[in-house]
């Protein structure tokens, strides 16, 4: 196998690996956003800026989404 072909195979393999990891990275980013959001809701409830009832509902929705993003939606 010539060096050119080997390089081509490497480039294609790297491209495939990048394409496969993209959805995983995207989901990790979403999980990080949700975690930050959950933390700020919890703080707002403890500060009294958001009512307990609304805070609980928000946290429930955000946690549900985070579980889905992590591939663990409880089903």
């Amino acid at each position: 196998m010539s060096a050119g072909v080997a390089l081509l195979v490497l480039v294609v393999a790297a491209g495939l690996a990048a394409a496969c990891s993209r959805p995983i990275l995207r989901r990790r980013r979403l999980v990080r956003r949700l975690l930050r959001s959950e933390a700020s809701v919890a703080k707002a409830v403890s500060d009294g800026r958001v009512s307990k009832a609304t805070g609980e509902m928000l946290l429930q929705h955000l946690e549900g989404l985070r579980r889905e993003c992590s591939g663990n939606n409880g089903s």
Binding site: L30, S37, S40, M57, L65
Partner: protein, 364 residues
């Protein structure tokens, strides 16, 4: 007041939120000259005035454009975020429009990314103590039901319509617009992005249920912007388009859309869930007879000036369309009542109420 508004979606977006943002910036610029308006693009940070003017038209002298630095935000009295994008902290007060909560009531119609983006924005708005505006009483009821919010903490204010959506138009220009779009037969019109919630698949089912004579005489024109989760619908539309009875139009500007509304025999909007349902209001403003859904916010927007049908029933949609097409008297009545109902969505009617909300917010 020194009011900041994010008009980023007006520059880069499509569909209802883009239209809302465009009209919000435009209406405040033109109908609230006593206030200073600063327009931002939170999506891409564009701040050159001429870029905004390409979309919004020439801006009056009380309007500035800015990049969104902390310093610029701190000089504002309040910031209005109309597109589910919150500014960095800085402004002393925030107003956030929550257009709908269908990510919670109908998660199956949304991508996971949509749902996360929307819920993070809603949570951000609430934790900042923002004033929340919902586009309709239906959306307010959803917020009470799904987020345990108190109804009093939510303001209800409809979107504003582009003034180009009016019943008068200009016959010559409308004719030229239709000619350019290749629409010459009498036609029924459907408007909406290609996403499951808009129910275009069932509309196509209903179209096939109409008597052959009606279908032979009319074209179905579908004006659609890009959406999601609709690969099957796209291929079905392409197949039907090939046989000539349905015409799919994309990237339609406001003037052309207004011409389509004015010339349509009927506008059909059988959406399954909306926060408002802008095409219903736009069509009525243009004097088009409308058939829309009897659920969610649509009866509220129609205000008795449209035919309401069960959007989950293709027979009911077909029956509603056939009734309007076959009964001249009903068509005439809807054409008269629609523009009257739509007056409440004009900038003249909405801006004073919006300024009252701003005032209450800064006084809190």
């Amino acid at each position: 007041m020194r009011i900041g508004v994010d008009a980023g979606r007006a520059l880069h977006g499509y569909g209802g939120v883009a239209s809302y943002s465009r009209q919000l910036a435009n209406a405040l610029a033109r109908h609230a000259p006593e206030h200073d308006l600063v327009i931002f693009d939170l999506d891409r940070g564009i701040h050159r005035r001429e870029v905004f003017e390409k979309t919004l038209g020439p801006l009056p002298s009380n309007v500035q454009t800015a990049q969104g630095s902390e310093l610029e935000l701190a000089r504002l009295d309040l910031f209005h975020a109309p597109g589910f994008v919150l500014p960095p902290p800085g402004a002393p007060h925030h107003v956030v429009t929550v257009h709908d909560l269908t990510v919670l009531s109908h998660p199956e119609y949304h991508t996971l990314e949509n749902r996360v983006r929307t819920m993070v924005a809603v949570a951000g708005a609430l934790t900042r103590g923002a004033t929340i505006i919902s586009d309709s009483r239906a959306t307010r009821a959803e917020a009470v039901r799904l987020l345990s919010m108190s109804g009093e903490s939510l303001e209800v204010l409809p979107p504003m319509l582009d003034p180009r959506f009016n019943p008068a138009g200009n016959d010559e220009l409308d004719e030229a617009a239709l000619h350019k779009l290749g629409v010459d037969a009498p036609f029924c019109l459907a408007v909406g992005s290609l996403e499951p919630r808009k129910n275009l698949g069932r509309l196509l089912d209903a179209w096939e249920l109409l008597p052959a004579g009606v279908r032979d005489e009319h074209l179905l024109v579908v004006v659609a912007s890009a959406g999601w989760l609709q690969r099957e619908l796209r291929s079905r539309l392409s197949d039907i388009e090939r046989d000539g009875s349905v015409r799919l139009l994309t990237r339609i500007g406001g003037l052309d859309l207004a011409a389509l509304y004015r010339r349509a025999r009927v506008v059909v909007f059988p959406s399954l869930a909306e926060g408002f349902g802008l095409p219903v209001a736009e069509a009525m403003a243009c004097g088009a007879p409308v058939v829309t859904s009897n659920v969610s916010s649509m009866p509220e927007v129609a205000g008795g000036a449209a035919v309401l049908v069960d959007p989950e029933d293709a027979d009911a949609i077909a029956d509603g369309v056939a009734r309007v097409l076959e009964r001249t008297e009903l068509r005439r009545d809807l054409r008269e009542r629609g523009p009257e109902q739509a007056l409440q969505f004009s900038a003249e009617a909405v801006v004073p109420r919006l300024l009252e909300i701003y005032q209450r917010t800064v006084e809190r």
